[in-house]
């Protein structure tokens, strides 16, 4: 059974933990043990090791809420809080809720305005049976990737001083829709002056030109955590059945049409970067004796541009594939009606 082998390989490669699912009726992760939590809070093992928390587990519900809220903001940054608990070196996010503040990256203590909301919400939640505490905050970076800006870094460092354990999550709803997969990142900052023991290799992502300075200055001050997701047995069951209903939406989604503006923005940004790289090349021709170091930087800039353009292209081609498939499925009937003899696949390019 090739598929069984393939599944086992995939599970092994992706470290799929089926421990929790061995007894599906327990859904033990949903149980809030406040005695254990209080003990953990008291011990504070994270105080000694800035790299203590390594993993994040996000529930299906929290993910859905955060993505929907981020998307509803459009091009405006939105933010909210996450509730959950800790479990060894993992932070577990059970739920999330939105905060009524409009983000404009320049507001450092946006949370000060929302404290009353937060207190009210937490109180009502505890009454309604959600016992977890706030373990972090999330906000959106619509269109410019998942990383922490300078303001975000200072906010998070403040949080990590006074509200431990705390986590920062960033979501990019525009890229999510464009790429067809969820763009999310979870971060914790290092305390001031701490140098990480080794340089972690983070996943490369395109940053628009106007934000790249902000990104570069602060990217060493925080580290990313691994994100995994979990869901209850009832959730799994419902989601399976849900698929029976929304497969139509999968087929009918048209990412090409929906993301035209975003892609145009990306391409113009790429063009600017290319111009910058070209200027740098022009200067460097004067001194081939300058040394290999400067050349390496420019090369890597052009290589980065190449990677970015490849990424944009891949997304576009995927979108086009969907369109062509739909056209073949639903529009090719007339060809088979007209010409019974030629049963070849319809080729839209040759149509006209």
């Amino acid at each position: 059974m090739d598929s069984a082998i393939a599944q086992k390989t995939w599970e092994l490669e992706n470290n799929i933990l089926t421990v929790e699912n061995q007894d599906p009726s327990s859904d033990s992760i949903f149980y809030y043990d406040d005695v254990a939590q209080a003990k953990f809070q008291h011990e504070r093992p994270w105080a000694n090791d800035p790299n203590y928390f390594k993993r994040v587990k996000i529930s299906a519900l929290a993910l859905l809420k955060m993505v929907v809220h981020a998307r509803s903001g459009g091009t405006i940054e939105v933010m909210g809080l996450m509730q959950g608990k800790t479990d060894g070196d993992a932070i577990i996010v059970m739920d999330a809720f939105a905060l009524p503040v409009e983000g404009t990256e320049t507001r450092v203590n946006a949370q000060a305005d929302a404290y009353e909301y937060m207190v009210d919400y937490s109180q009502t939640n505890k009454q309604a049976g959600r016992l977890e505490n706030v373990v972090g905050w999330y906000h959106s970076h619509p269109g410019y990737g998942c990383w922490l800006s300078g303001i975000d870094v200072s906010t998070q460092m403040l949080n990590q001083q006074f509200q431990e354990p705390f986590l920062a999550v960033v979501i990019d709803p525009t890229r999510t829709v464009s790429a067809g997969k969820v763009e999310i990142g979870a971060f914790r900052t290092y305390p001031d002056g701490y140098k990480p023991p080794d340089d972690p290799i983070s996943e490369y992502q395109t940053i628009p030109l106007n934000k790249i300075e902000d990104f570069g200055v602060h990217c060493k001050q925080y580290y990313a955590l691994d994100i995994t997701y979990f869901k209850s047995s009832l959730d799994s069951h419902l989601l399976d059945l849900l698929w029976n209903k929304y497969w139509v939406n999968t087929l009918s989604s048209s990412p090409l049409l929906g993301n035209g503006d975003y892609v145009a923005g990306q391409i113009s940004d790429l063009a600017e970067k290319l111009e910058q790289a070209e200027n740098q090349f022009a200067h460097s021709r004067i001194g081939p004796l300058v040394g290999p170091s400067r050349k390496k930087e420019e090369e890597s800039q052009l290589a980065k541009i190449t990677r970015d353009s490849a990424k944009i292209t891949v997304e576009q081609v995927h979108g086009l594939m969907s369109q062509v498939i739909k056209d073949t499925l639903f529009n090719s009937v007339r060809q088979s009606n007209r010409s019974r003899t030629e049963q070849s696949d319809p080729e839209p390019m040759v149509e006209a």
Partner: protein
Amino acid sequence: MAAASSSGLTFKLHPLVILNISDHYTRVKSQMNPPISSGNTANSINGGDQKQHQSPPRVFGCVIGVQRGRTVEIFNSFELLYDPSTHSLDRSFLLKKQELYRKVFPQFYILGWYSIGSDAQESDMHIHKALMDINESPVYVLLNPSINHAQKDLPINIYESELHVIDGIPQLIFVCSSYTIETVEAERISVDHVAHLKPSDGGSAATQLAAHLTGIHSAIKMLHSRIKVLHQYLVAMQNGDIPFENSLLRQVSSLARRLPAIESEKFQDDFLMEYNDTLLITYLAMITNCSSAMNELVDKFNTAYDRNSRRGGRTAFI
């Protein structure tokens, strides 16, 4: 108890609501039945099995959304407190929660309430009537939490209340309505992501391509299986195994006549233009790739055959 609805309202349900209700139920159930620790599994299964698993709790909550004309779209939901003594929902709590949600989602208002169970009960009508002063025709969303793998349909029912005259007395009874699942693109992607637990990082272009095509493939498989069912049905009708049913035949015929979906010159032009645009982007990316490769080649060449230029001149190397 529940007849078919005739109010003519169309209901649209977002997956977020479904996950909300399921999460609420799982939480409350889990708090009531704390997990058996691995140490004394054997003992508790023998002795404590009766005590541990109480009957599934009934949870209650409120659903919010918008109603535009005849379409009711349910976007979100939140929990409510149930007061068993008065058989009603805590009104002050509801108002407080509603205010909180109003601040973040100003366009949503209360559309109804939800609960857990397999069928609408008489006592639910009491709660339903209490909500009628907030919304004159609230909806009642009922989720059946029992996991039945044979079931192919979502175990969710939406009920409305209608005034029927029974035995000469006008009474409100629950009537079942049909609903569709409505989702925005972002919601669909995250639901898809969680449902199939795809690896979250991008990986290579090959895995992205595989993921994308797998999604479309499964959707087409569903379409194919549905069409096959229809086809078998029609063949059986043709053979005479099943009595003719004209209304169904009309629907199938209208479905078949809707293909091809779009057939016009303008569509073809636009489609080809989009196709060409994408090919242009691919071309541009390839040119960028090639020029980057050329640049690297030249630099490497320069570094390798550097001897001449090191002397300071800009004479041609080699």
